[in-house]
């Protein structure tokens, strides 16, 4: 049970003013992942009218990035009544279900039915576009039912949000010309599931752009979007698995590769100096092991963590970037949902598997960027930066035991002002995928409670069977902690304050505290 503490505890935990990793300079747009949800909830009805934006960041790079969220008005999600389709009949049939029937009829396949989280994408006309655990064309009827549910509620000038049946949540997001549905048996809350569906939608926009997506459906309502998405299914598949394992998504934050600040500065400066002369280069992003090494940006432009997550997903799901230099059109939905950026994507070197992305709005500069990349690598090699990146990549993350906090098993620390987070390495019992996912589920529960729209909490201390959880949000950070199950409150509080001191001491290595520009 959650146990909101008296506000006095805040003062006990740490002396006021400690806010590890805080910085006035940031290259990331800071958002609360929950605001996104509120915006989504209040907007999706209007979304169908698709207020096509007239400004485009890409075509008017002079103008500031528009990031003005429409005033979110509190909406109480309507709890719709429709019953899930014939549960009883399904159960009767379960006995005869054959495991081999996935290709014939997924609805009669026990493994398929038992999946913890389904994701379906269909068009407003009810055409199947994507299904996470089976081929979508076997699900025409099922998707028809989903479309019917959505349009039935729409007819009453309302919007279906979610259906709850036992431990299963059915969550609907209607965005642009698409309907996204998840059927989830996880502990994730409706807002968290909505966030995931929004990410999936943004992934599609990232491949096609919002304007193309709108246009094809304007031309033909029953367009088969799979034609345009061929080859992108793997991006959606990977994104979904990624979100099940990575706290970055619900935290709305980015993890950095730990590096000595002098090394990181040297890398950033090398990029700035080499690329300074190239016009129209908007972002240079260096990623290693899915963590940010550095990000150099054009003055005035920032990148949204959600866009960076999509870039991380692209890199992590594309093996071919490793052998060749790619010239990849990519739309960053938060930056400009209507236009493509062009990305020169390549790994630094055979012996340094960090991926460099140079994003520009100019489609004719491939060879210049290719050249610049070569020069960057040569310089980084001479200044031993490649070595430093490798060393950090190959080093196992420090654990809380190694920091000297024996009763603390794991932690997520998010610095709000920079949208960056840090977490230590996993230690027993969180060594299997299952245990890690379970732990992540616990964090998500805490996250939801801290941000619950009707009753947000500041502090949660929760003693569970296998661990004790503590969550704490201040104006500067969010902290999610896992302790031994029998830890006492004073001991837990004591180690939190030790942890914060340690993060403060290491902040220059763990976080990026400046924001280099071209």
């Amino acid at each position: 049970m959650a146990n909101p503490e008296a506000p006095g505890v805040d003062d006990v935990i740490a002396e006021p003013g400690i806010e590890p990793g805080a910085s006035a300079e940031t290259m990331l747009v800071t958002t609360d992942s929950f605001e996104e949800y509120e915006q989504e909830m209040s907007n999706s009805i209007d979304d169908r009218q698709m207020k096509e934006s007239t400004t485009s960041t890409i075509s008017e790079l002079q103008e500031d990035i528009r990031e003005a969220p429409p005033t979110p008005t509190a909406v109480s999600p309507t709890e719709p009544k429709p019953e899930p389709p014939d549960d009883l009949e399904l159960e009767d049939n379960t006995q005869q279900l054959s495991l081999n029937s996935l290709e014939i009829d997924p609805l009669r396949n026990t493994t398929w039915l038992a999946q913890r989280k389904h994701i379906f994408i269909l068009s407003q006309a009810g055409k199947p576009i994507y299904s996470r655990h089976s081929s979508e064309d076997k699900l025409v009827t099922l998707m028809g039912v989903m479309q019917a549910l959505v349009s039935f509620v729409q007819a009453g000038n309302d919007m279906i949000r979610s259906v709850h049946a036992g431990d299963t949540n059915f969550v609907f997001v209607v965005k642009g010309p698409l309907i996204l549905v998840t059927v989830s048996k996880t502990l994730e809350s409706v807002p968290q599931l909505v966030l995931q569906l929004t990410y999936v939608y943004n992934q599609i926009v990232s491949v096609l752009t919002q304007s193309q997506l709108t246009r094809v459906y304007e031309q033909r309502r029953n367009f088969d979007l799979r034609r345009l998405l061929t080859g992108s299914e793997r991006l959606i598949d990977h994104l979904l698995n990624f979100m099940d394992k990575e706290p970055a998504f619900f935290l709305g934050a980015i993890k950095c590769l730990p590096l000595l600040p002098s090394m990181r500065d040297a890398i950033s400066q090398t990029i700035v100096q080499t690329c300074g002369k190239i016009k129209n280069l908007v972002f240079a992003i260096l990623l290693a092991n899915n963590q940010l090494v550095t990000l150099v940006r054009m003055k005035k432009y920032f990148i949204h963590p959600a866009d960076l997550h999509l870039i991380q997903n692209l890199v992590a799901s594309s093996e071919s970037f490793k052998t060749v230099e790619s010239w990849t059109p990519i739309c960053l939905p938060k930056f400009d949902s209507n236009g493509f950026m062009h990305g020169h994507v390549s790994y630094l070197a055979e012996d340094c598997q960090a991926c460099l992305l140079l994003l520009t709005v100019d489609k004719d500069v491939f060879y210049s960027l290719s050249d610049a990349k070569q020069k960057i690598v040569e310089k980084l090699r001479r200044t031993n930066c490649l070595e430093a990146i490798n060393e950090s990549m190959n080093k196992a993350s420090i654990t809380t035991a190694e920091i000297g906090l024996p009763e603390m098993r794991h932690v997520l620390y998010k610095c709000k002002s920079t949208a960056q987070f840090w977490s230590p390495g996993f230690q027993p019992p969180y060594t299997t995928d299952e245990e890690i996912e379970r732990l992540l589920g616990l964090y998500q529960c805490l996250h939801h409670r801290l941000h619950a729209p009707n009753r947000p909490l500041k502090l949660i201390f929760q003693q569970l069977d296998k661990e004790t959880m503590l969550a704490w949000v201040t104006s500067g950070f969010e902290l999610y902690l896992t302790f031994e199950p029998l830890v006492t409150k004073p001991d837990a509080i004591n180690s939190v304050s030790k942890l914060l001191k340690w993060i403060k001491k290491e902040e220059e290595r763990l976080f990026i505290l400046n924001s280099p520009t071209f």
Binding site: L229, G231, V324, E325, T328, P329, K363
Partner: protein
């Protein structure tokens, strides 16, 4: 100031439907490897790789553009074959649809890039060796290739069969044209002053 020009002598472009193995062909040529465990990794946009080759003791660089086969990138594909000296049009020997698509690319190139030498390449020969039948029949393909006067190669990226021969042929054909030879020699003289590296290894 940067000048957006490639540092390559021979620009080659790979064209064809998705999933015929263009990226695999490129990887076979560049690194001589094939990743069997990887399901089709559709190329997003396009990819570029270059490799130095040596024909008759003349060294020059091949710059190869691997294009995305997917329909949504079709409008962008033009950018990549513009100015190409050679094109490898690929199709999957067991996939009739990809063959139709290949013929489309041949027509397109003939009308837009007249100076581009077209090589027709049937991929996945290893599947034929396992007993599958070719569609269309290889005779038809050979006759078609002869009819439009382009060379036809039957390759397997998986085993590496005939892939290096294909690129060898492209390199030889290129350098046998006096104009090309002339421009390569010119480039060599230009760089000779700065570099004196004269190692030369035969391709293949």
């Amino acid at each position: 100031m940067y000048n957006d020009m490639p540092k390559v002598d021979l620009k080659v472009v790979l064209l064809g439907s998705s999933n015929v193995g263009k990226t695999s062909l490129l990887e076979r040529f560049i690194d001589d490897r094939f990743n069997e465990n990887l399901p089709n990794q559709s190329t997003i946009g396009a990819a570029f790789a270059s490799k130095e080759v040596c024909v008759n003791n003349i060294k020059f660089t091949l710059g190869i553009w691997d294009t995305a086969g997917s329909e949504r990138y079709q409008s962008m594909t033009k950018l990549y074959y513009r100015g190409a000296k050679a094109a490898i049009v690929c199709y999957d020997v067991t996939n009739l649809e990809s063959w139709e698509r290949a013929k489309y690319w041949v027509r397109e190139l003939r009308s837009v890039e007249e100076t581009c030498v077209v090589y027709l390449c049937g991929t996945k020969k290893d599947i034929l060796d396992e007993g599958k039948t070719a569609t269309p029949d290889l005779d038809i393909v050979e006759r078609y290739a002869a009819g439009i006067q382009c060379k036809f190669y039957l390759v397997s990226n998986k085993t590496g069969e005939k892939t290096s021969e294909l690129f060898d042929e492209i390199s030889k054909d290129y350098i046998s044209d006096p104009d090309n030879l002339h421009s390569v020699m010119e480039a060599i003289t230009l760089t000779a002053n700065s570099k004196t590296d004269s190692r030369c290894c035969p391709i293949g």
